[in-house]
């Protein structure tokens, strides 16, 4: 089974967020980046499938030069080779624009499966995989926790709302958006990191793929969110704040 996993490099979860002077994106200069969480689960699901049924795992990522670090991480965990879609303006492309880049880079590979994470932790559109399926004319399913090879295609476990699930049968090739938490993530081994340096990393760019940046939906400005309620921040040492909170719970909230 040939499986392509699309991963995104995003700012680290606890990274300080500062609005850039343009007010259109955040200051990236002092940020640390890592692999988007649900994409890491997509990669893990792909690697486990390959271990069970054989085949190849190809990782693909779109973004500027720094993305190569995340690609190497995926290779170190066990992906066989990689495609880097070089793109310096990825944050200014809409979901359709990014999906076009990835779909065109994936198309000549003719994979059996394309996996992506459900949603990115930065822009959070949660659409890339679904649109890729549309552009590639493939069936898809999202919020997938587990993938199983079946006689004629695959069976996937899909998360529904409020603790419900369902199984879905799909023919292959297909596109799946993977939800976090379906399995345990592996770490890269020292041997894996060493091997990753020798693995193929092919580069393509938007011009090669013939795709212009022509967004229909634009992010015009960003800002820090407005507080929905006025939060009383309790001041003092741990002991003092604890005592103040107990007073509030007793006399104002009346839950004690």
């Amino acid at each position: 089974m040939k499986i392509i996993v699309a991963v995104k490099q995003v700012p680290e979860r606890d990274a300080p967020v500062r609005v850039a002077a343009s007010r259109q994106w955040i200051e990236e200069a002092d940020l640390q980046f890592s692999m988007n969480e649900s994409d890491a689960y997509a990669l893990e699901e792909a690697l486990q499938l390959k271990e069970k049924v054989g085949g190849e795992v190809v990782v693909i990522s779109a973004g500027p030069e720094r993305v190569a670090i995340t690609i190497r991480e995926a290779l170190a965990k066990g992906a066989d080779r990689a495609i880097h879609v070089e793109c310096d303006d990825i944050a200014n492309r809409d979901a359709l624009g990014v999906a076009r880049l990835l779909a065109e880079a994936v198309r000549p590979e003719n994979p059996d499966l394309v996996l992506t994470g459900l949603q990115s932790d930065d822009l959070g559109y949660g659409q890339t995989g679904v649109i890729m399926a549309e552009l590639l004319s493939l069936p898809h399913a999202s919020l997938i926790l587990h993938v199983e090879k079946a006689d004629s295609g695959i069976t996937v476990k899909r998360e529904l709302e409020e603790g419900w699930f369902q199984n879905i049968d799909l023919p292959t090739p297909a596109v799946l958006m993977i939800q976090s938490g379906g399995t345990k993530l592996r770490y890269a081994t020292l041997m894996g990191i060493k091997r990753a340096k020798m693995k193929e990393l092919r580069k393509v760019n938007a011009v090669d793929l013939g795709i212009e940046n022509a967004p229909v939906v634009t992010l015009e400005s960003i800002s820090l969110p407005q507080r929905q309620v006025s939060t009383q921040i309790l001041q003092g040492t741990a002991k003092e704040t604890a005592a103040t909170l107990v007073e509030k719970l007793k006399f104002e909230v009346r839950v004690l």
């Binding site: 930065d122 959070g124 549309e134 199984n167 015009e220 929905q228 939060t231 005592a243 004690l256």
Partner: protein, 323 residues
Amino acid sequence: MSGIFVVIEERQGRIGRISWEAVAAGLVLAHQTGAKVNAIVIGAQTEQFAAEAAKRISGKVIRIEHPLLGTYTPDGYSRALEQFIRAESPQFLVFPHTYQVRDYVPALAARFGSVLIGDVVSIQDGPSFTRQLMQGRLTGSYHSSGPGPVFVSVQSGAFRAGASESLAAEVSVFDPVIDSTQIRTKPGEPFRDSAQTVDLGSAQAIVAVGRGIREAENLGLIQELATALGAEIAASRPICDNGWLPIERQVGSSGQTVAPKLYLAVGISGAIQHLVGMKGSQCIVAVNKDPDAPIFEVAHYGIVGDLFEVVPALTDALKAARQ
């Protein structure tokens, strides 16, 4: 191109609250454009839902009906709505931001060269649409400029559903042409992994724990606090993903929705997916080391500090207060 169409979603045989909230978002657009709000119901048998919707819709109600739409599939729903949109050319399509909508609307929008503006929390003049970024730590203002219809989905709880009205919208049927060979996926019946034994929905007080707890071994601290408070324990998704607490204790879009008198969030940064499950709580208290954590945007009381110091102090203070 004209008209605002809200696509209503059925939940367990009823029209869910989030669909009425989508209607409320449609009304915001109606106010700006002067157009009326219409509704679409989709299914194999939609008469009853259409009648329910017609009472609260000032425009028209469209029943998109076909035997192959009885069970949701992305292929069936996309194909049916695509045909309706080509016939009617609406200006705006508004959806509730549900798992189902996330599964097919991005593909549907792409067929028109449009892009869904998803998980919208407010609509300003223009219209411009506000949604959250960076797990709720930023908000972004979006504008759609494409030639196709504008697709918008709205976050649960972001718009206030109107009260039940006694309108009587005109109801009509749209018959899409769908062939069973066009539906490529075969969905199974919904199931639950384990019987639900904890009903967080009826708890008066909840202590919820998130990533900040770092290790499963530290959960004892939270248990002691919950006991001192007489509260149920809940968690954000990563804690349940790690298997540290059972999934039935998960609060958020993929877990339970709760609204207790007191919700004490410990080491939870407050990603949107968590907030939608608890922001209706009467009193929210947050303990977090990051003063910019989004949880503080919904908290009534906040303690910025190390939970490993604050939680034991709080447990002690509660024990003392109860004596």
